[in-house]
Amino acid sequence: METGFLQEQKVLEGDLNSENSHQNSVDFLMNWFRKQSIFVLAYGTGCGAIEMPPTFTSRYDAERLGIRGAATPRQADVIIVSGYCSYKTLRRIIRTYEQMSNPKYLLALGSCTVNGGMYWDSYNTIKKLEDYLPVDMYVNGCMPRPESILEGFIALQKEIGEGKASSWQKYEENYEFYRKNQEAVLGKKVEPSYEADWYLYEGGL
């Protein structure tokens, strides 16, 4: 009997294999479109980002599956948390995630998002991403190769197509839970406090 992550991944994948999906034809059609076209937020939040360029460029060409990059959170469907997630990054990820428009999905990359990975005893890195943000799909490995990332995307597409990838609803329903966890590591003020002094310098803009 597997414990921990392996078990949870089984549960996640178990959903994929079940056939009992209830969606009307309009939803079915829309989910089909959503599944066919996935815009990924092109932010690298950790070391795993190094595997993303080959995934999206000529070598592995994710665009053939309808997966392409988006520069702003407003236009993205999927945010990839690529690897270890320090408090400072987490703050930005939360902010970005909240700026994305529904429906939105979260793909977590690498062992660090699963259980802290090699940073399991780091004072500055969270261990379990799903405590702070809802995760649709984990792709494990350190680092996962582009093939596994694509596999993760295909699994996510399947979930979207069946209308089961509904983490954004989960986030809205259990907002207090997530908020509590976020505040526990980030302090009371979750939004980043920010001073843009580089704007004022000459030559910038």
């Binding site: 400072k88 005893d121 780091s122 004072y123 980043p192």
Partner: protein, 191 residues
């Protein structure tokens, strides 16, 4: 130069680590005079970095200023000790601009106060309220256990070192058994 440093700053001998790499330990109050002298008279125009070592047993921090001259390709390490309790020293940012960010880092990680540095806000942490994390009294593991939740399943994780040792032993035993079997077979064949 070395004798002058020794005489004027009453230090030990300048230690020559290897060719072009020197180290000297100076008293804290004479450090800045020495830095100025090195910069102005001996062309040590570059401040590479400022490092800190936490000697918790002796109750002080060892601050090391590493300076380089490109003219002769020589590097000078100036070490000084400051007390751990309410650690503070003067800022070097009026001499070297880059010192500001180095000091910001040290302030954040060790809690050393640099008088004269105007920009001592946090560098890579945000809203950190606990002990500065690189001080040795800060117990990382304890902090993690207190503040963060682990995923279940880490409890049964195995010591990889021991495990690999065990596996290697098993493999070795198997190999030897196979070898033995082979040899006995050979012996039988011969017979």
């Amino acid at each position: 130069m070395f004798s002058e440093i020794k005489n004027r700053f009453a230090t030990d001998d300048v230690e020559v680590k290897r060719k072009g790499l020197y180290k000297v330990v100076v008293k804290h109050e004479r450090l800045f005079a020495l830095i100025v002298m090195l910069k102005e008279m001996y062309d040590y125009k570059t401040l590479n970095t400022i490092t800190c070592t936490d000697w918790i047993e002796e109750g002080h921090f060892a601050l090391t200023y590493i300076m380089t001259t490109l003219k002769r390709n020589e590097t000078f390490m100036l070490q000084t000790m400051i007390l751990r309790e309410e650690a503070h020293t003067k800022s070097l940012s009026y001499l070297f601009k880059q010192a500001q960010i180095m000091e910001r880092d040290l302030h954040e990680m060790y809690g050393i106060k640099f008088e004269g540095n105007e920009n001592l806000k946090e560098l890579s942490l945000e809203n950190w309220v606990h002990t500065p994390p690189l001080r040795r009294e800060f117990d990382t593991l304890e902090f993690v256990n207190n503040h963060l939740t682990f995923r279940d399943g880490r409890d049964d994780n195995i010591d990889t070192k021991a495990e690999s040792k065990r596996l290697r032993a098993i493999k070795k035993a198997e190999k030897e058994a196979a070898k033995k079997a082979k040899e006995s077979k050979k012996a039988e064949d011969v017979q």
